[in-house]
């Protein structure tokens, strides 16, 4: 008597043909090595899981890019980054769900709001501590992170409850040679690649980028060369936060449920990804994020969903033992 989607019974035509002899053997086990029926479509299944991993990886990359850029220039791990990402998701959601904005306008609004937020955070919480010991700025970043989470949970800001995001467009699946790809997956990948190229362009082909790289190398030398360090750092935070906002909106569309604490876990994973790729190195963030996504997804799919994070992070530790500066990290010691 179901509503729209009552499925037909499926138990008659279980599609075990080629390897039907293994059926009962497999069925008595909860986790087979390949968590699927041993059919001819194993390859397609594996590719499908790799695409799942790509989506997750690109999602981490969206956040990791901003993390690594700010670190690269300021040498500060901005723990509030995940929470700026959350604010971005909320503003985007309010934009296209509540205020009736078209999606691009909502994304731009969200990026603008977060850019301002990023600059303000830097002015209030980080700038006064710039010449204090590193640990002070780190603690300040944690403070900002907690402040944003709990401030946004207040009833008159976003409220503590989960909000369901109505997607501004429906998810469409395309079947390419038996592999299913969705428009959201494509959108996320294109955005990340676009952001990556833009950042590389900005850093290596523009004057601001040159100033950023200079500041990154040596604050004082940069100031002596006539670079306005304060404004360069402000710009860095503005761009990093705007990137987080764009990521937040995409994230809210891909996983349509948001709440004020949504930034913690993705922020943590993105940070790990940035470290894995070599923190401060832009392409490293994307590479690290993609590896994270794959390891997590493939672990959950083919090894054990219970041990997903344990195995994923175990592998990361192993990688870092071999290459302490990350995969693309520079291993040479700094010149003194």
């Amino acid at each position: 008597m179901g509503g729209g989607e009552k499925p037909p019974p499926r138990f008659k035509n279980r599609s075990i043909t080629a390897f039907s002899g293994f059926g009962p053997l497999y069925r008595n086990r909860q986790h087979s090595l390949l968590g699927v029926d041993m059919g001819v479509d194993v390859l397609e299944h594996v590719i499908g899981q790799v695409i799942n991993g790509l989506q997750l990886g690109f999602m981490y990359a969206l956040i990791a890019l901003g993390y690594t850029m700010v670190y690269g220039v300021v040498k500060l791990i901005n723990f509030a980054h995940g929470d700026v990402f959350m604010v971005g998701a909320f503003v985007g959601y309010l934009g296209f769900n509540q205020w009736g904005m078209p999606v691009p306008v909502a994304v731009l609004t969200s990026m603008a709001v977060c850019a301002i937020l990023g600059v303000v955070i830097e002015k209030i919480a980080y700038r006064p501590l710039r010449y204090a010991p590193k640990i002070a700025a780190l603690i300040s970043a944690l403070g900002v992170s907690l402040f944003l989470e709990y401030f946004c949970s207040l009833k008159f800001i976003f409220g503590p409850n989960y909000r369901v995001v109505q997607r501004p467009f429906e998810e469409v699946h395309w079947q390419l040679a038996g592999i299913s790809i969705s428009n959201i997956q494509v959108m996320v990948m294109v955005t990340v690649l676009f952001m990556l190229l833009m950042l590389q362009y900005l850093l290596y082909r523009t004057k601001v980028g040159m100033a950023m790289r200079t500041v990154s190398l040596d604050h004082d030398a940069a100031r002596l060369m006539g670079v306005n360090v304060d404004s360069v750092i402000s710009v860095t935070f503005a761009i990093g936060s705007a990137l987080a906002a764009a990521g937040g909106v995409l994230y809210a569309i891909a996983y349509p449920q948001i709440q004020p604490f949504m930034g913690i876990m993705p922020g943590l994973k993105a940070f790990t990804a940035a470290v894995l790729g070599g923190i401060g190195i832009i392409p490293g963030a994307v590479l690290g994020a993609l590896i994270m996504g794959q390891v997590e997804t493939l672990t959950a799919a083919f090894l054990s969903s219970q041990l997903r994070d344990a195995i994923a992070f175990g592998i990361l530790i192993l990688v870092l033992l071999v290459r302490p500066c990350g995969i693309l990290g520079k291993t040479e010691t700094e010149k003194v």
Binding site: P9, V36, N52, G53, R308
Partner: protein
């Protein structure tokens, strides 16, 4: 000036209250010539984060006493209402006050498991009968495998829902295969999953996969892609409404056509009804249940409070009735005798179904199955254990 005024108002209030109270007392004595009095207490969160739970339960409590004419057997009921603000420490304080100052013989309450567990230890130590309408944690009546003799509950415990869900899946939905997704950090979903698995297998069904996630996960694509390949008849999702909505949406996007099934964690207006359309969940009670007891109760409640009673009001009402019935049967105000009468309750006709107690003070009683249908919760059937 202002403080003076305040003091004045306060004094008038106190005087008024004293007058009302003594008035009541006098009244009692007048009518209770030759009649005995038993004092019972109510504990619930009347302020704080789950205030509505407490209010509803209190309404059920008051209605049960009112309908009994304020009496149980030869005893006239006097009651004291206390607020625990859904705080375990506060629950212990209020229970202490009820037991030592008000000298109650029995307590109805509290509402959530954490406050009930805290207060129940105290009640049991002081040999005061306590029955909760809604504390579902097994730890309410049992502490380290030791039964707290004076403690009972009017609702089924968490794991029971898993069993009922599996029965419904195999018997009514004729399902042969199922996949389970559960939060590995939450006792509620672990309990439901394990008991679902056990019963489903026992009924001849087959669990194709049992996959874990953690509370902060939002991407379930890896396990859902696997499940999509296995094509189970049922996807069992025993978590709270937000997580279930998110998993449900991704499951449909991965092409999983299985029927969704869950527990009372779904029972919220914030569930994503569009996604979960067609899904079923187990719960305590439904106002649409066609049994005459339910209809009488819903009408009576509507007449008094002008709203449809929720599960809390109903379970509070049932728990109070159970207690009143036990006092009547024991015909004594000795908590030890009331306790024995309560434990011996057999096929007691409550709104939520006929119930008896097992050796741990947990009721053996039916659960209802609700379906998400046309964006609403619809009553489907009642499953007896």
């Amino acid at each position: 000036m202002l403080t003076n005024k305040k003091v004045l108002v306060l004094m008038i209030l106190v005087l008024g209250l004293a007058f009302v109270l003594t008035g009541c007392g006098g009244d009692n004595k007048a009518t209770s010539t030759g009649e005995k009095v038993i004092k019972i207490g109510f504990i619930g969160p009347l302020q704080g984060d789950v205030k509505t739970f407490g209010e509803s339960t209190k309404n059920g409590f008051l209605m049960a006493i009112e309908q009994a004419g304020g009496k149980a057997g030869d005893y006239k009921i006097e009651y004291v209402i206390a607020d625990d603000r859904n705080d375990a420490t506060e629950a212990v304080n209020t229970a202490t006050k009820l037991i030592t100052q008000d000298k109650v013989k029995a307590i109805v309450g509290s509402v959530t498991s954490k406050t009930t567990i805290a207060a129940s230890q105290l009640a049991n130590d002081n040999k005061v009968v306590m029955i909760t309408g809604t504390g579902t944690s097994p730890k309410v009546t049992v502490d380290n495998d030791k039964r707290k003799d004076f403690i009972f509950r009017g609702c089924f415990i968490d794991p029971f829902q898993g069993t009922v869900g599996a029965k419904f899946a195999t018997e009514t939905l004729k399902a042969k295969t199922a996949a389970i997704l559960y939060d590995q950090g939450n006792d509620y979903t672990i309990g439901l999953s394990n008991f679902f698995k056990e019963q489903f297998t026992k009924s001849g069904g087959q669990i194709l996969s049992m996959e874990a996630y953690s509370q902060t996960d939002v991407d379930f694509s890896a396990v859902l892609t696997n499940i999509a390949q296995q094509k189970p008849d049922i996807l069992y999702l025993p978590d709270y409404y937000q997580k279930v909505s998110l998993i449900g949406k991704q499951a449909r996007e991965k092409g999983i056509n299985a029927i969704f099934l869950g527990g009372d964690g779904w029972d919220s207006t914030d569930l994503d009804y569009a996604t979960m359309e067609g899904g079923y969940f187990t719960s305590h009670y439904s106002p649409d249940d066609p049994r005459p007891e339910v209809k009488t109760w819903v009408d009576a409640y509507k007449g008094k409070y002008n709203s449809v009673p929720d599960a809390f009001a109903t379970l509070g009402y049932d728990a109070t009735n159970l207690l009143l019935n036990a006092i009547k049967t024991a015909n004594s105000d000795d908590p030890a005798k009331i306790k024995d009468a309560l434990q011996a309750s057999k096929d007691f006709s409550a709104v939520t179904g006929k119930l008896s107690f097992d050796k741990d003070g947990n009721p053996i009683k039916p659960a209802v199955i609700l379906q998400i249908k046309d964006g609403k919760q619809a009553y489907v059937t009642t499953v007896t254990p």
